[in-house]
């Protein structure tokens, strides 16, 4: 409407992050190793656990095989598809001086961290959806009783894992060593956050400690999304724990994220 000459387009946070995310998506597609470990592991691993789960006396805890495997699959997706993959990506970009270069431009620090994570984040979200649908279809999982809890759990889990990946990348020197630095969180979560062994099967005292681990409330929320057996009070407790870890992780990123390789 105005007859003024079109001034060169001014960037917005959204447009800048979109440009960065597009480049990262291209890179993701070209990194076979990342794609395999991020897509195949979360999709295949939980089902290879099935015989083990069949042997567990899950029915005693009011669970079914499907209700153990579904949260496990989503847990694997968060751990391998998002956390481990993003740790490697942040580390690679820092070591290639890409992060430093991005910081010389108009992108803000948070836009760089978020934009770089966007493709993996989206991939994790899609995986969780695929897993939910797949498990419902093939493992006799009933329709979710409280889907909003599962959705909140997955979203908090995604943000938490992305932030923890940025923190982990800060102590990771090379892309190769990311396989080692991501192990502690991956192993602890697998064993003690209800990913492979439901917390319901652990002794009460152990379980009450394990409930406080970062990924525990996420898994609890996802599982209860289907069972609907979490009281409002318990649900709030889990949400608060997950939120606390997420805030803590985001704070740690702001405080300790490394933008350049060590000299």
């Amino acid at each position: 409407m105005s007859g003024a000459m079109v001034k060169g387009s001014v960037t917005t946070p959204a447009s800048r992050m979109a440009a960065l995310a597009r480049a990262e998506l291209t890179l993701l597609g070209r990194s076979k190793a990342t794609v395999i470990s991020a897509v195949l592991v979360p999709l295949a691993l939980p089902f290879s656990l099935r015989p083990v789960v069949d042997d567990m006396d899950v029915e005693d805890s009011g669970l079914t095989v499907g209700l153990v495997l579904l949260p496990a699959a989503i847990g694997f997706s968060l751990l391998f598809g998002v956390y481990a993959a993003l740790t490697a990506i942040y580390t690679a970009r820092r070591e290639e001086l890409v992060l430093k270069r991005l910081r010389t431009g108009e992108l803000r620090d948070t836009e760089i961290i978020a934009g770089s994570a966007l493709p993996v984040f989206t991939m994790g979200l899609v995986q969780c959806l695929v897993l939910a649908v797949g498990c419902t279809a093939f493992l006799d999982v009933p329709a979710p009783e409280a889907p909003h809890l599962a959705v909140l759990g997955v979203l908090l889990g995604l943000v938490m894992c992305a932030a923890l990946a940025a923190v982990t990348a800060s102590v990771t020197r090379t892309v190769e060593s990311a396989q080692v630095t991501t192990l502690p969180f991956v192993l602890v979560s697998m064993v003690a956050s209800g990913v492979t062994v439901p917390l319901e099967l652990l002794p009460d005292r152990v379980a009450s400690v394990c409930e406080l681990l970062p990924l525990s409330p996420v898994i609890t929320l996802v599982r209860s999304g289907w069972t609907g057996d979490l009281s409002a009070y318990e649900a709030l407790g889990s949400l608060a724990t997950a939120l606390a870890w997420t805030v803590l992780a985001v704070f740690a990123v702001g405080r300790w994220f490394r933008w350049e390789p060590r000299r």
Binding site: K7, G8, S9, V10, T11, S15, R16, A18, A19, L20, R22, A23, T26, L27, R30, S31, A92, R93, E96, L97, V98, L99, K100, R101, L102, R103, T104, G105, E106, L107, R108
Partner: protein, 320 residues
């Protein structure tokens, strides 16, 4: 309406300091300014503090002391205001190796206000033919040119170039110089670092020589050079001694040294000294072998400044 920027000083640096974690003082209180449409070179050996200084100017880090104004703004605390108007070429790439040249430029273009078309930016630096090549397959010189293309994408008012021609062949270097001059003529303010003296001499309107984090000399290339003496050297003919030469003071020679038969004179009056010497040789009927008469070059000025500064430093150590 935002206030107009001071026309004169596009870059203003006052008593700038940078200290690294271990306590190493990389930049020890430097001050200079760069005017609009000027090419300013920071010259120095490796470790002189060039990159440490430029990173502060680019707003990548907060200075440990002193003040920087880029277009009237603090580049660190007012990043959002300054960045759309500056272009930066880092010393080392910083591109994902698996992206192509075009994809890299397109990504960057999406992060730059008022970006040129990607093709135009690549053509500016002669990379149009490499658009679909992955970054990892580029030569060092091509990567430098890609970096320059990205720095130019937003048509910046202020351009920071950290060693823009390192790794380029002679032709590429000349092309870059022409491009930088053309940008300067169009009003862009350019601050570059280099350790190539001929680059500073040929390209810069003004320069500062950095040594151990301090500015050891500053001015136009001619001024910095003129502050240094010219040199004459030759071999004394057989049977002659330095005492046989005309009184050196009268020739305008400030000091001399003798090494075997080789004589070196320093003077600030090159023509008078050279004439006096040659007239003497003519009259004496002798030939001055290995005669070398040269006015000070930036290279000599640079080496002399480095020598002086190290001597001062070691004297201070002795005194302490």
């Amino acid at each position: 309406m935002e206030a107009r920027d001071t026309k004169e000083h596009v870059i203003e640096v006052t008593d700038l300091r940078r200290v690294y974690g271990g306590g190493f003082q990389a930049v020890r209180g430097i001050s200079f300014h760069v005017d609009r449409g000027e090419i300013f070179a920071l010259l120095g050996t490796n470790g002189a503090g060039k990159t440490s200084t430029v990173e502060l100017l680019e707003g990548l880090e907060r200075p440990d002391g002193g003040r920087i104004r880029i277009l009237g703004h603090d580049p660190y605390t007012e990043r959002a205001v300054v960045r759309p108007r500056t272009g930066v070429m880092l010393q080392e790439g910083g591109f994902p190796s698996e992206l192509t040249v075009k994809e890299t430029a397109r990504m960057w273009a999406g992060c730059v206000s008022g970006a040129r078309p990607v093709g135009e930016a690549l053509a500016l630096v002669g990379l149009a033919g490499k658009a679909d090549v992955r970054v990892k397959q580029l030569s060092g010189g091509e990567r430098r040119r890609l970096d320059l293309a990205l720095a130019l994408l937003g048509k910046p008012e202020v351009l920071f170039l950290d060693e823009p021609t390192t790794g380029l062949d002679a032709e590429g270097r000349r092309d870059t110089w022409d491009l930088v001059r053309a940008l300067r003529d169009a009003g862009t303010t350019v601050l570059l670092t280099t350790h190539y003296l001929e680059e500073a001499e040929g390209l810069a309107d003004r320069l500062a020589v950095l040594h151990q984090g301090r500015i050891a000399a500053a001015g136009t290339p001619a001024e910095v050079t003129a502050a240094q003496p010219s040199r004459i050297s030759f071999q004394l003919p057989e049977g002659y001694f330095v005492g046989d030469l005309p009184p050196l003071g009268e020739l305008g020679v400030s000091d001399h040294e003798v090494e075997g038969r080789l004589v070196r004179l320093r003077t600030r009056e090159l023509q008078r000294a050279a004439t006096g010497l040659l007239v003497w040789a003519e009259r004496a009927g002798v030939e001055l072998k290995a005669l070398d008469v040269r006015s000070a070059s930036l290279e000599e000025a640079f080496l002399q400044i480095a020598r002086d500064a190290s001597e001062q430093a070691s004297e201070q150590e002795v005194a302490a």
